[in-house]
């Protein structure tokens, strides 16, 4: 099929800031490409590395984790922990041959609808450049797809 590659991105958004930010983007009718699939978590600290790997294995071309700005975390410091894990995880992904740019960690506050849209736009463009996730290819070849 000749149609342009449209990456699938899985986004983990914390309930208190980033999810609200995404809401605001919508409310303010700020347009961004429809490639993101949002999963709401109470706190970005909840995002287990396993979820992220799972996303890639399931065929995601990119993963976004968005949490409150430092200091804003509804749970005091969950967002820091997410941040720290993210950095480690990028290294890990490289081991798997997944470009670290496919994982993006962002602070998006409830008032940053515009920023949220920008983040998604950028990510979609970046990943379009990278092409489909190598992991996805492998997964399909090795037939590890979850029924």
């Amino acid at each position: 099929m000749t149609e342009e590659f449209e990456p699938k991105i899985v986004g983990f958004l914390c309930n208190w800031c980033s999810y609200a930010g995404a809401d605001l983007a919508g409310v303010s009718r700020i347009q961004y490409p429809p490639n993101l699939r949002i999963i709401r978590v109470m706190c970005s600290g909840r995002v287990d590395p396993a979820f992220i790997l799972e996303a890639f294995i399931s065929g995601a071309d990119g993963v976004l984790i968005a949490g409150c700005h430092p200091g804003d975390c509804h749970y005091i410091a969950g967002n820091y922990k997410a941040q720290r894990r993210g950095i480690l995880l990028k290294k890990l992904l490289e081991q798997f041959g997944v470009e670290p740019q496919r994982l993006r960690i962002e602070f998006v506050s409830a008032s940053e609808g515009a920023k949220f849209a920008v983040v998604v736009k950028e990510m979609v463009e970046d990943i379009k450049k990278l092409g489909p996730s190598p992991l996805k290819a492998r997964v399909e070849v090795e037939g590890l797809i979850h029924a």
């Binding site: 409310v27 303010s28 804003d72 506050s109 008032s111």
Partner: protein, 434 residues
């Protein structure tokens, strides 16, 4: 709900919200009256809050929604207190509910009406910098998320009525009077800005690039008229230098109020830091007299602003601001009192920090309630030392800025204080009854 167990709270800002939640969550019935179409008050207009730089709306919105959802809280927005009779334990209150011309039950807040409304008017929420329609919600996170037709500007084209699938528009909606019976009353009517135009030497209202701090707050806000892009309104240019002027009308024995508004030094610092975040190229100068850093973490915040963010402080209240009519650039004349030299500085935007003053309407409200005001129009405490939230009348309590200058945490703590006193009064009334 019997009168003794219910409380009337006047003012839907952060203080009124906190008092409402405190009382409601302990099982008391609360009527929260707000004269605008949405609760949220001043705090909802702020971009960030000092000294933590919390996003204001992020931390406020959940509380607003909690108020809306709480089974013990009845929101009476777009409403005003008309008459109060009776005494502690048993007040009889008349509330005037102004017509929204929109059926609260039917309106789903989808916004289709506003999308098609042809009338654009300056948006109060953005301090008039942005525009809204004649049918509007004050801001996207408004609570309740219900639309209101502002009668003055509506041209009755009925487009909204045609667009509204829910059939919520009702041009014939009459004003409504509600009778309440409450055991206690809490007043939390907050503040407004001193009219910066009275200090004509700064050219506010005459020069487009001279703004008040609240206008500037909206200009900084991601949800503001420029979507958080820091631009000059006169020509859309990116500012290279922004100057803040403190004490515009405050600490003034003439042409203003004699007290210190208490928040300006630090919120100017906050806005200064935000500017540097937006655009590190843009210089920030804060012209002050005494830097008021008395609050928890304030001095540390100012130190960070100086050392980490490069916000510059000049001990001087400028004499005047003059615009170059060709460029719209502003020249500030001042004496640097620590360098002992009088000089001028060019700036792209000048932000005035006007005195924060009690609501003009508080006089009228005090009249209705029978409360005493002090010389500035603040609600008077029974004893400024040991009964700060009590008034001359038992059963009526005050909190937040309407009681005197304070910042958000002080307002929140005091709101809880007023709630405690209201609860006490109700417990006492209960005892008498038995």
């Amino acid at each position: 709900m019997e009168a003794k167990q219910s409380v009337l709270i006047i003012g839907g800002g952060i203080a009124g919200i906190q008092a409402s939640l405190d009382l409601a969550s302990r099982g008391m019935k609360v009527y929260l009256v707000e004269k605008t179409p949405s609760i949220g008050g001043r705090m909802s207009q702020l971009d960030k809050t000092f000294p933590t730089m919390d996003c204001s709306m992020c931390i406020l919105a959940p509380k607003m929604i909690e108020c809306f959802r709480h089974p013990n809280i009845t929101l009476l927005t777009y409403a005003e207190v008309q008459e109060v009779k009776g005494s502690a334990g048993n007040f009889r209150v008349k509330i005037l509910k102004k017509p929204r011309f929109v059926d609260l039950e039917k309106c789903t807040g989808c916004g289709e009406c506003a999308q098609h409304c042809p009338v654009e008017v300056p948006n109060e929420f953005d301090m008039g910098l942005g525009v809204r329609k004649a049918i509007y919600v004050p801001f996207p996170q408004a609570v309740p998320l219900k639309y209101t037709i502002d009668d003055e500007n509506c041209v009755k084209c009925r487009l909204c009525q045609r667009m509204c699938k829910a059939g919520a528009i009702n041009y014939d909606q009459p004003p409504e009077t509600i009778d309440l019976n409450v055991g206690a009353i809490i007043v939390a009517t907050g503040f407004e800005l001193f009219d910066a135009q009275t200090r004509s030497e700064y050219g506010y209202g005459k020069y487009q690039n001279v703004l008040t701090s609240l206008e500037f707050e909206r200009l900084l806000s991601a949800s503001g008229p420029t979507g958080g892009h820091l631009l000059r309104l006169s020509d859309g240019r990116i500012p290279r230098r922004i100057a803040f002027i403190q004490c515009v009308g405050s600490r003034s024995l003439k042409g203003g109020v004699s007290y210190c508004s208490s928040a300006c030094c630090v919120y100017a610092t906050k806005e200064g830091v935000l500017i540097r975040e937006h655009n590190p190229e843009c210089e920030v100068y804060v012209f002050y007299n005494d830097l008021k850093v008395f609050g928890k973490g304030f001095q540390e915040f100012v130190n960070r602003a100086k050392n980490e963010w490069g916000v510059k402080y000049v001990r001087a209240l400028p004499g005047e601001v003059v615009e170059d009519p060709k460029t719209g650039d502003l020249t500030i004349w001042y004496e640097d009192t620590t360098e002992n030299v009088t000089k001028s500085m060019k700036a792209d935007i000048v932000v005035l920090c006007p005195a924060l003053v009690p609501r003009v309407t508080s006089k009228e409200l005090a009249g209705i309630l029978g409360l005493e005001l002090d010389e500035f129009g603040f609600m008077k405490s029974r004893d400024p030392l040991f009964a700060p939230v009590d008034t001359n009348l038992p059963g009526i309590y005050i909190c937040g800025y309407c009681q005197g200058p304070k910042d958000i945490p002080e307002s929140v703590a005091q709101a809880s204080g007023a709630a405690a006193r209201a609860a006490e009064a109700i417990v006492a009334a209960g005892k008498e009854a038995h």
